[in-house]
Every structure is written in structure tokens, then in C-alpha cells.
């Protein structure tokens, strides 16, 4: 499903250059729930941004569903993200002046869905994450866990092929984090491909495969039987 080959990502900081990904190779199969773990600065979020088409590597190739996405223009990448990918950010990344359902609706409208189609898909997604009662609440009227679940609903509403989650439990208490993780497991059971960056080894243990990153290279790749 995803094939990353010889990925290199560098950042310039004044005169010096920081190489964050050092020719990394990764292959994720359809339906896998992969967690990427590692210390701060190991390059796990950077890897996620490259795979999720939010950033461009300096060199290397990313192939998603046999499409070389490295060659896509910015407009094509935007369209690709809209239809094929879903994102969950650490800080939820909800639009503050949109209600829960409106946050979920916006990418569906962008896909050109009619009002009733978009609404039924958004409601379905919100129900799936257990937010039936809070459709009309603004993000400021929701708890952190609820906001993260809205973020998940927004990411899954259009049935993306791959779901990217960047430390989705980092800002949550353990009880809420468990609920979010359970949601991911449910989605995975339904066949959803998920790539999740996390700091928490116990959450990584719940996934099919744990990729350990250190200093821009993969130092461990544990696949559960």
C-alpha cells in the first residue's frame, strides 16, 4: 500500500544542516495498524508528514497504491489528501468557529457531496466515535477527548485509504486516551490502514506492527503474529 524508498529529509538551520531522515525504507501493507515509536527528534513525525504528503522529502520515493506521489504537483497532492488520506493531529486541529459536525462536513463538501449525502456521512462518522449528542457543539465546548474524537470523525468520514495519526493521545488523560485507542482498534478491525506516531510503548503494543525509529533510521520493526 505504501512504499517509501531511500527517504531523505534535511532541515537547514543557519549554516548547518540537520538530516532527520537518512535514506529510510518502509513498506506498509493494506489493513495494517502500524505504530512508529522513538525518542523526541528521532524523525517519527517527520516521516509521518512525508508519508502523509504534508511535506516533500529532499530525495527518495513514496509510492501509495502504486502511485508515485513524489511526482504530484501541489494541487494534485491536495486532491490526493482530500480523497485518499485522513489525518489526526496531536492538538486535534479543529477549526474553532465550526461546530463538531461542520468540522466533519467541510472536507465532504470539498469532495462535492450533496448536502444530505455529506450530512449523513458526517453523522455516521460522529456516531462511530461516540459523539452522537454533541454535533452542534463548538470545539471550545468540548473536552480534549471529545475534540480528538471529532478529529477522528473528520479523518474517517470520507473513508480514506490510509489514516495518519500524529501522537493522538499526547494531550489526553489515560482514560480518554484509552477511548481514542479503542476507536482506532475498531477502525482497524473494519480494515482501515492506520499509521500512528506515539510516545507511549503500551499504546504501540496494541498495534499490529511497531516500527522503531532512531536518529532518522529504522532500528527495529516488530510485526505481531
Amino acid at each position: 500500500m505504501i512504499k517509501a524508498q531511500k527517504l531523505v529529509k534535511k532541515f537547514k538551520s543557519g549554516e548547518s544542516e540537520l538530516v532527520v531522515l537518512k535514506g529510510l525504507d518502509l513498506h506498509v501493507r493494506k489493513g495494517e495498524f502500524v505504530s512508529i515509536i522513538g525518542r523526541s527528534g528521532s524523525g517519527k513525525s517527520t516521516l509521518l508528514y512525508q508519508l502523509g504528503l504534508l511535506d516533500r522529502p529532499n530525495s527518495g520515493q513514496i509510492i501509495i497504491n502504486e502511485i508515485d506521489v513524489s511526482k504530484l504537483t501541489d494541487e494534485e497532492r491536495t486532491a490526493f489528501r482530500l480523497t485518499e488520506l485522513g489525518y489526526i493531529f496531536q492538538d486535534y486541529a479543529l477549526i474553532p468557529e465550526l461546530t463538531a459536525i461542520e468540522n466533519v462536513l467541510i472536507p465532504l463538501y470539498m469532495q462535492g457531496l450533496k448536502n444530505h449525502e455529506a450530512e449523513s456521512q458526517a453523522i455516521l462518522a460522529l456516531e462511530k466515535v461516540g459523539l452522537k449528542e454533541k454535533f452542534s457543539n463548538l470545539p471550545s465546548q468540548l473536552s480534549g477527548g471529545e475534540q480528538q474524537r471529532v478529529s477522528i470523525a473528520r479523518a474517517i468520514s470520507h473513508k480514506p485509504k490510509i489514516l495518519f495519526a500524529d501522537e493522538p493521545t499526547a494531550n489526553l488523560d489515560s482514560e480518554t486516551a484509552d477511548i481514542v485507542l479503542k476507536t482506532f482498534i475498531e477502525l482497524h478491525k473494519d480494515g482501515q490502514t492506520i499509521i500512528m506516531v506515539t510516545h507511549e510503548p503500551e499504546y504501540a503494543e496494541l498495534t499490529d506492527r511497531i516500527v522503531h525509529l532512531s536518529d532518522g533510521i529504522i532500528t527495529g520493526d516488530k510485526i505481531k503474529s
Binding site: Y49, L54, D55, N65, E66, I67, D68, V69, K71, L72, E75, E76, T78, A79, F80, R81, L82, T83, L85, Y87, F89, A93, I95, P96, E97, L98, E102, L105, I106, P107, Y109, M110, Q111, G112, L138, R154, A155
Partner: protein
């Protein structure tokens, strides 16, 4: 076709990517939520700025043009009328005046007319006070003596309303005159050798009129004041008396003023008079023809001045909108990044900001129009601004206002688009991470 290309093509087909309608729909969705859920006072402040901009655009030039328009209207109302018939060059009166008056009275569309006798003369005051030295000059002023029918003159030019002291003339008044205020030093706010004036003359005082070598002592019955120099520098007699004084026994007059019915085209009446040979004996002009050239020049000058000031106002408004939208967009940079990150097209985000600016412009324009056409214009029509040389009104035509609205919208559109474009163009990930 490669896999990449085929997928993109498929996306374009199924998702209507790039469709302006979809972008507009998403842009409108974002814009309405952002306006609805932003601080009400911020919205009111922006709309207030747009209203002031609109007023600046319409009122500054409107008042400047209205200043001249007020002067033109005063000349038209009190002096020239809709059609002004005067002596031919090198003629001292209008020959066949009776025929022209009869013709004019029979033309449909002419509401009323008045005829005037005019003669150059001199008015002298304080002549009973002995001179201190033999070389002292008389207290006299050269002027134009005008004979009028008080009733028809008032009907056509509303002269009675211009009396500021004393009383208006009656048809049977004998040896009584109306004096223009600019002939009296107490009404002149300046002292210029070009405008000699009588000193210490009040209503009821006696003055000497000298015309065609005849001298008559008359009483000042009233003083008139308008903002038309041609009126304020004249002396008005009842016509039959002046006729006797100047020996005009043929009833030929010097000026005929026509007031037309509402909506009648003055050019048509002028053509009708010329077709009846009036042009052989008199100069027939519409009010616009008779307008002095300096007024026409001033009209153009003030219009240019108004446009310059409006342009400055427009630039200030555009910059204001730019700053408002830019601050709005820059403080929401992270959310713009998120929207792009989840696949919202940059064009849809730009449209959201453009629609917001247009919304503010629309509301500002609506409030501005209500103020201009519902309050300010009717008020200034009823109570013109008292400028020294005219009663200033507000000239705000529908066409002129529509053009200004279009200009304001264009400026707002650009001022909304540019800052949105600047922020939307930034790197998506940098925006999301606040780098």
C-alpha cells in the same frame, strides 16, 4: 497513461476537484461561519469603517459638486430661469418684445414668465450731508436699475423670499425701490475698490437714482439678499415707473425669463422660440447656455477635486480592509494550514476571505445608502449648507453612486484577495506547526 495520472483524472471526475462551484460553496460555508461566530463588535467596527468609506466616496465629491450645483440652482431660480431671453449684441433692448412674450406664453410647457427692463445707472446716498471738502467724492455706486412686474417676477424667481429687511414691492408702489445687499457696505464682508458700496443706508432712507440723465429721489422699501451677485448688485423698481424714467414707451424689454413646467426639456422650448423668429430679435438661451464659463470650469474643477479626494478615501479603505483581512488571515494561519492539510483547496480558502470582505462592503454600502438617500440628502435638500457663495446641497445621482459602489467593491475584492493569497500560499506544514 500512468497510474498517477489516471488516479488524478478519476479524482477530478468523481470529486469535482477544481470546480469553481465547489470552491465557492466551501468558501461561502467557511465565510458565513467565520462572520457569524466572530466578535460582534469587530463586525460592527469593520462595517462602520466601510460605511464611512462609502460616505467619503459619495459625500465628499457630492458636496463639492453640490457647492457649485447650489450656485447654479440659485442663478437659475432667482435670475436666469429655465430660458433666458436677452438683448442681441449691439442692441439696447429686445425688439418685438411683445411678440416674443406672446409666443412664449402660447408654447405648451411654459409655466410662467417675467420681463425686465434694465438700464445702467447710479445710486447715491447721504447726499443731504454736506461734503467736508469740495474734493470729496459723492457716496454713489454705479449699478443696474431693473424694472420688474413685482407679481410675475416673484412668481418666476421668488424675489419676495429674498427680502431680508423691509418689504417687497407692490405693483402700485411709487418712488420706492428694492436694493441689492451688495450695494450696501453693511452687507459686504470685504472692502474692495471693485465693489463700491453705500454707507449708512437703511430701509426707509431716501436715495437718489440717476438713469439716462434723469434723477429721481426714491425711498428704500426693502433690501434683498441672495447668493447671486447679479441680483445683489441691482436696484429694483416697479416696471412702469422705470419705463417712464428711461422713456421706454414701446414696451420693449431687456430680459425675459421663462419658468417651465416640471419635466419639460428647455432645449425644445428654445427651439420652439427660435422657430417663431425670436432669434431675430433676441438672444434665446437655456439656463445651461447662459451659465457663465467660470461656473462651468468650477464645476469641472470641483468634480476633479472630489474624485481625487474620493480616490484617497478609497485607497485608505482598501488598505484598511487589507489590514483587517491580513490580520485575520495571519492569526488564523494555523487553521488555514489545517484546512489545506485535510485537502481543502487554496482557492476555496481565498474565496472565504474574499466573501468576507465583500460581505463587509455590502453591509457598509447598504448602511451608507440608507444614510445618504434616507437622511443626509433629504436633510441637505431641505437645509442646504450655508456656504459664502452658494447654498451647498448634496449631489448624489443613482449612476454616480452605482459607479462608486462598483469601485468600492472592486477595491474590497482586491484588498480581501491579496492578504488571503499571501497566507494561503505559505507552506502547509509550516502553517500547521506554526513555524
Amino acid at each position: 497513461m500512468s497510474n498517477t495520472e489516471s488516479l488524478i483524472k478519476e479524482n477530478e471526475k468523481t470529486n469535482k476537484k477544481g470546480s469553481f462551484k465547489t470552491n465557492l460553496r466551501v468558501g461561502a460555508f467557511l465565510a458565513t461561519r467565520q462572520i457569524k461566530r466572530s466578535n460582534i463588535w469587530t463586525n460592527i467596527l469593520i462595517i462602520f469603517i466601510m460605511t464611512l468609506t462609502f460616505l467619503n466616496l459619495v459625500i465628499v465629491s457630492g458636496i463639492l459638486v453640490g457647492l457649485i450645483e447650489g450656485a447654479i440652482r440659485a442663478v437659475k431660480n432667482h435670475y436666469l430661469g429655465d430660458i433666458f431671453i436677452s438683448d442681441l449684441e449691439h442692441k439696447s433692448y429686445i425688439e418685438q418684445s411683445r411678440m416674443i412674450i406672446n409666443t412664449a406664453q402660447n408654447i405648451p410647457g411654459v409655466e410662467s414668465l417675467t420681463a425686465r427692463y434694465t438700464e445702467s445707472g447710479k445710486i447715491q446716498g447721504n447726499y443731504k450731508i454736506p461734503k467736508r471738502r469740495p474734493t470729496d467724492s459723492d457716496d454713489s455706486v454705479g449699478t443696474q436699475i431693473v424694472g420688474i412686474d413685482p407679481v410675475s417676477e416673484n412668481k418666476v424667481t421668488g424675489l419676495k423670499k429674498l427680502v431680508i429687511e423691509g418689504q417687497y414691492l407692490e405693483p402700485n408702489d411709487y418712488d420706492q425701490i428694492l436694493l441689492g445687499a451688495m450695494l450696501l457696505s453693511k452687507y459686504l464682508s470685504f472692502d474692495s475698490p471693485a465693489f463700491p458700496a453705500l454707507k449708512n443706508i437703511e430701509v426707509g432712507d431716501r436715495v437718489r437714482i440717476e438713469v439716462n440723465g434723469n434723477v429721481r429721489e426714491v425711498k428704500v422699501k426693502g433690501i434683498i439678499k441672495s447668493k447671486v451677485d447679479e441680483i445683489d448688485r441691482r436696484v429694483f423698481f416697479v416696471d412702469n415707473q422705470l419705463r417712464g424714467l428711461i422713456g421706454r414707451t414701446d414696451y420693449n424689454v431687456d430680459e425675459i425669463v421663462l419658468r417651465l413646467k416640471s419635466g419639460v426639456d428647455p432645449i425644445m422650448i428654445k427651439q420652439a422660440l427660435l422657430a417663431n423668429n425670436a432669434g431675430n430679435f433676441a438672444r434665446v438661451q437655456t439656463q445651461e447656455d447662459a451659465e457663465p464659463k467660470f461656473i462651468k470650469d468650477m464645476k469641472k474643477t470641483f468634480a476633479i477635486l472630489g474624485n481625487i479626494m474620493s480616490s484617497i478615501g478609497l485607497a485608505v479603505a482598501a488598505i484598511t480592509i487589507f489590514i483587517v483581512i491580513f490580520i485575520n488571515a495571519i492569526t488564523r494561519r494555523k487553521f488555514i494550514g489545517i484546512l489545506k492539510g485535510i485537502g481543502i483547496e487554496p482557492r476555496a480558502i481565498e474565496l472565504a476571505y474574499i466573501l468576507q470582505s465583500v460581505f463587509y462592503a455590502v453591509l457598509g454600502t447598504i448602511v451608507g445608502c440608507i444614510l445618504v438617500f434616507g437622511v443626509i440628502k433629504p436633510y441637505l435638500d431641505a437645509y442646504p449648507i450655508n456656504f459664502p457663495f452658494s447654498d451647498g446641497i448634496l449631489v448624489a445621482t443613482l449612476n454616480g453612486t452605482l459607479i462608486r459602489i462598483a469601485i468600492l467593491f472592486a477595491a474590497t475584492f482586491i484588498a480581501g484577495y491579496i492578504p488571503a493569497r499571501i497566507v494561503v500560499k505559505q507552506n502547509t506544514l509550516d502553517a500547521i506547526l506554526g513555524r
